[in-house]
Amino acid sequence: MKLNAEPRVEQDQVDQASTKPPSSEVASPWLRLLVGRQPKRTLVRLVVLVAGVFVLFRFVFIGVRIEGISMEPTYHNGRIGLVERLAYRYSLPKRGDVVAIRIAGERRMYLKRVIGLPGERVAVHRGNVYINGEKLDEPYVRAPREPWEEPEVRLGEHEYYVVGDNRSMPGRWHEHGRVDASRITGKLLF
């Protein structure tokens, strides 16, 4: 109903324009191109859009640019991604999830894959991960593995074991290990 009513109003305004342009409409074609026919509506739309984007990127998503090679070949250096903050609000991280881990703040974060869950025993032997003594199948590790060795650790109640997909680099140059759940900021969507 409302949609049908509006063009009639516009027609009325067009008819009146032959004598004097209405004060709410933009007369200059260039200005009209910039702010539209109804500047007030354009302003409201702009405010809603800016507020929407602000809320989305403040509370729901974090835009990230991947730096470094520790997640190769799954995620390459320089790739742009999106982290969902609310992913773990009502559920817990699962094995295989790629998560963003807060360091001191959120401007620089680690991007790692969850391989060990709370309460599990995790060990690395000759580059292979063992969970509770059983070898973990990791299809995302495609490059030949360096012979990393990590003694078995039991994860705490709120601890996860995280590591990058690139195991072809020496273990000492590749940040990996236990992380407290409170540091996990969100899940990488793409």
Partner: protein, 166 residues
């Protein structure tokens, strides 16, 4: 129209006054953030700097720390290293700067907590360093303690924080 111009002028003047006030009388937080920015700048190293400039840079960097500063480093290749005092720190920094080609240090994140008496503060800091133009940026979380000494903020302690525990 005149009314709008007057309102705009008042808003502009208020903003200018606020900015001037902050510049002339900075808060402890902005002083500490400024100190961290100065430390990052002094710790950075350009590829074409001559040895004298490098040495001067080490002296400048040491000036941001207290005389009895303690630095605990527990990172890859420097496990369990401790630096005690400003002089030892200056020598260590000078030696490191002599062996490096270039370094760009930044503190992109700093979470500050100032003590109620405003005489000491703690910062959780993310430090990043691009060394010798290598592809992989070094990222390290640090805990930095500050104290106000003779009215000036100085760094009294630096500890490595393991974001990911082995």
């Amino acid at each position: 129209m005149k009314r709008i111009v007057s309102i705009l002028a008042v808003v502009l003047l208020a903003a200018l006054g606020f900015w001037l006030c902050r510049e002339l009388f900075p808060s402890d937080e902005s002083r500490l953030r400024g100190l961290l920015a100065d430390v990052a700048k002094a710790a950075s190293l350009k590829g074409n700097e001559n040895p004298l400039v490098r040495l001067a840079g080490a002296n400048k960097l040491a000036g941001f720390f207290s005389e009895d500063v303690v630095v605990h480093i527990d990172a890859s290749g420097l496990e369990g290293k401790q630096i005690q005092g400003r002089e030892e720190l200056r020598q260590t920094v000078a030696a490191a700067r002599a062996s490096l080609q270039s370094a760009e240090v930044q503190f992109p994140d700093a979470q500050l907590e100032i003590a109620p008496n405003r005489e000491s503060a703690t910062a959780e800091v993310t430090a990043t360093a691009d060394i010798n133009g290598e592809k992989n940026t070094v990222v390290q979380e640090l805990k930095v303690l500050f104290k106000k000494i003779d009215g000036q903020w100085k760094i009294t302690q630096v500890d490595t924080v393991h974001t990911l525990q082995p």
